[in-house]
C-alpha cells in the first residue's frame, strides 16, 4: 500500500490500527536489518525495533507529509541505534570521541544468529575497524542499497560528505581484506 494511503488511514481513528499494521508489515524487516547490522546483536536489535515502532506509532500524527515516510522511520531508527551504542560505550567507559567500533566485537562473536561464511565474517570484522557512523554509511549503501539523497535525508549529512565517507570505507575494507589474506 502507498505511504500516503497508510497515513490517510492512520489519521482516521476507525482505521488507525489497520494502517499501523500495514505500516509495520511494510517496514518492519527493513528497519530490523538496518538496526541489526549496526548493533550486531539480535536481542539488542529486537528491543530497539520495538522501541522504534512504538515511537513511530506515538509520533505518526506529527509526521509532515512533505517528507518521505520511510526516510522518517529510518531517521528514528538511526537515532535510536546511535543513542543505544553511545550508552553502551558509556557503560564500557569508552569515550564517545573514540571512533573505533571494536567494542562491538564481542556482540559479533556472541550472537547465536550469525550463519555467515568466512568471507562474511571477515567483512564484519573489517567493518568493526570503521567508526560507527562510517559503518552506518557503508551498511546503508552496500546492504540496504539506499541512494545518497535518501541517506542524506536520513543522516542529515551532505551527499558529498556521504560519498567521500563511503569511498574511504570501501578502500579501508579492501585493504583490511587484503592484509587478512
Amino acid at each position: 500500500m502507498d505511504d500516503a494511503l497508510i497515513l490517510e488511514k492512520f489519521a482516521d481513528s476507525r482505521t488507525r490500527d489497520e494502517a499501523f499494521e500495514i505500516l509495520l508489515t511494510k517496514y518492519q524487516q527493513k528497519v530490523y536489518w538496518h538496526v541489526r547490522r549496526f548493533v550486531l546483536d539480535h536481542e539488542d536489535a529486537n528491543d530497539l525495533v520495538q522501541d522504534i515502532f512504538i515511537k513511530v506509532w506515538k509520533n505518526l500524527d506529527t509526521f509532515r507529509a512533505d517528507a518521505q515516510l520511510y526516510t522518517w522511520i529510518y531517521r528514528i531508527a538511526t537515532n535510536e541505534s546511535i543513542t543505544f551504542l553511545n550508552r553502551r560505550k558509556q557503560k564500557l567507559n569508552i569515550s564517545l570521541d573514540d571512533e573505533n567500533s571494536s567494542y562491538l566485537a564481542e556482540s559479533l562473536a556472541d550472537t547465536p544468529y550469525f550463519n555467515g561464511n568466512q568471507a562474511q565474517l571477515k567483512l564484519q570484522k573489517a567493518l568493526l575497524t570503521l567508526p560507527d557512523k562510517q559503518r552506518l554509511v557503508f551498511n546503508m549503501k552496500y546492504f540496504d542499497d539506499l541512494k545518497y539523497d535518501e541517506m542524506s535525508d536520513i543522516l542529515g549529512t551532505s551527499v558529498g560528505a556521504l560519498k567521500a565517507s563511503y569511498h574511504i570505507a570501501v578502500k579501508k575494507i579492501e585493504r583490511f581484506l587484503l592484509e587478512a589474506d
Binding site: F20, F114, A119, K141
Partner: protein, 214 residues
C-alpha cells in the same frame, strides 16, 4: 570480351546483362539539395546543445571517484554479497504481534511498566515545581531586587549612615544580599534600634497608647 546471348542481348564476361548494373533505387525530388541543409542544421543544433549543458564544478574528478568506488564495491560484492546475520524462526511474525500488543496497551492508557527511573523523574519534577512555586510566591510578596537596591542606595546617600535606615529596608536588603559581614553589622544595628525604642517611652505612655489603640 562481349558475348551475344540466345535472345540476341549483349552480355558481359560473367554472362550478365550490362543493363542490370544500373541503380534501380531512386530518391525523392530535391533530396540531395535538402539533405545537405538538414545535416548542417542538425550539426548546428548539436553544437548549441553541447554549449548549453554544463556540469557542476569538480564533476569530472567526482565522477572518477564515484566510478572507482563502484568498481571496488562490485569487487567486494562478488566476494561477499550478504551480511551473514540470521534471525530465529518466525521472529518477524512474533515481533509484529509484540509491537501491536504494545501499541494496543498504550492506547488503553494502562501503565504496564514503570521503571524506577520514571518515578524518580516524576519526583524530581514535583520538587522542581514546588521550588519554583515557592520562589514565585516569595518573589511576588517581596519588592524586586532593583527596588531594594535603589532604596538602599538612595537612603544611604541621603543619610550617610546605616543607623538611620528603616528596619524594613534592612530586612529586604538582607533577603537579597545575605552575606555574613552584612548580617553582623546589621544585626548590631537592629539590636541598637530596639534598645532605642525601649528607652524612648515611659510605662505611662505605653499604657495610654494601648488604651487608645485597642
Amino acid at each position: 570480351m562481349k558475348k551475344i546471348g540466345q535472345n540476341g542481348n549483349e552480355k558481359n564476361e560473367f554472362g550478365l546483362n550490362p543493363n542490370l548494373k544500373r541503380n534501380p533505387f531512386s530518391v525523392p525530388t530535391d533530396y540531395f539539395q535538402t539533405s545537405k541543409k538538414d545535416i548542417l542544421q542538425n550539426i548546428k543544433l548539436l553544437n548549441t546543445a553541447e554549449s548549453t549543458f554544463s556540469t557542476p564544478s569538480d564533476y569530472q574528478s567526482q565522477l572518477t571517484q564515484d566510478i572507482l568506488t563502484r568498481v571496488s564495491e562490485e569487487k567486494l560484492k562478488s566476494l561477499v554479497h550478504e551480511d551473514g546475520f540470521s534471525v530465529p524462526e518466525g521472529f518477524f511474525n512474533d515481533l509484529n504481534k509484540q509491537i501491536i500488543a504494545q501499541t494496543t496497551k498504550q492506547s488503553q492508557v494502562v501503565p504496564i511498566k514503570r521503571s524506577k527511573n520514571s518515578w524518580l523523574s516524576y519526583g524530581v519534577a514535583a520538587c522542581l515545581a514546588l521550588a519554583v512555586s515557592i520562589f514565585a510566591i516569595s518573589y511576588q510578596t517581596q519588592p524586586s531586587e532593583e527596588t531594594v537596591e535603589a532604596d538602599v542606595t538612595n537612603l544611604t546617600s541621603e543619610f550617610h549612615s546605616i543607623d538611620v535606615l528603616p528596619t524594613e529596608t534592612i530586612i529586604n536588603y538582607l533577603a537579597f544580599y545575605p552575606e555574613s559581614g552584612d548580617l553582623l553589622i546589621l544585626s548590631d544595628h537592629l539590636a541598637e534600634e530596639s534598645d532605642i525604642y525601649s528607652d524612648s517611652f515611659s510605662a505611662d505612655e505605653i499604657e495610654l497608647y494601648l488604651k487608645n489603640s485597642i
